[in-house]
């Protein structure tokens, strides 16, 4: 099965996860067009 990026949507949750996992955050602003 092909792996895909598990994008988060909630900014505060992302920061909480980053602190817990000792990781940095990748924030992508995209345009669906």
């Amino acid at each position: 099965m092909t792996k895909t990026i598990k994008w988060e949507k909630d900014f505060d949750r992302v920061l909480t996860l980053a602190r817990a996992e000792g990781k940095m955050v990748l924030l992508d602003f995209f345009n669906p067009l």
């Binding site: 092909t2 895909t4 990026i5 996860l17 955050v25 990748l26 924030l27 995209f30």
Partner: protein, 150 residues
Amino acid sequence: MGAVTYPNEKVVEFIEKHLVPIQVLFDSQPLATKFNIQWTPTVITLDEEGKEHYRTIGFLSPEEFIPSLMLGITKCHFDRGKFSEAIEISEEILKDYPKSDAAPEAVYVRGVALYKSTHSADPLKEAYKKLQSEYPSSEWAKRAQPYRLL
């Protein structure tokens, strides 16, 4: 990015291992205003407090995107005085992606991080020489020119 780079297996694996990814629409508030988003795609590397350390604008291929993310992580460490971590990742960029657009800046950041760690000017001079010999047309070769006088 969504059609080519993000589905790439190496990109997926790198992000899963090193980053917490969040994707939002370019006009999503309050983030679009907070980060002054004018172009898409804009990809920003933040620390765990939400502070920006690096951004790229526009499409990047998988071969360019991974070293770009590595450089973002390098900058996060550098900006917070974690020089040994910044040196380690910048050296990985130079080993694994020496021909990437991120490589010249990695040379520069590595040199400055070594200087800040050792208080010796030698790493700055070495960075200048490497940039002149291997990346002479890069903007980082120009920025390192004062180091030739050290």
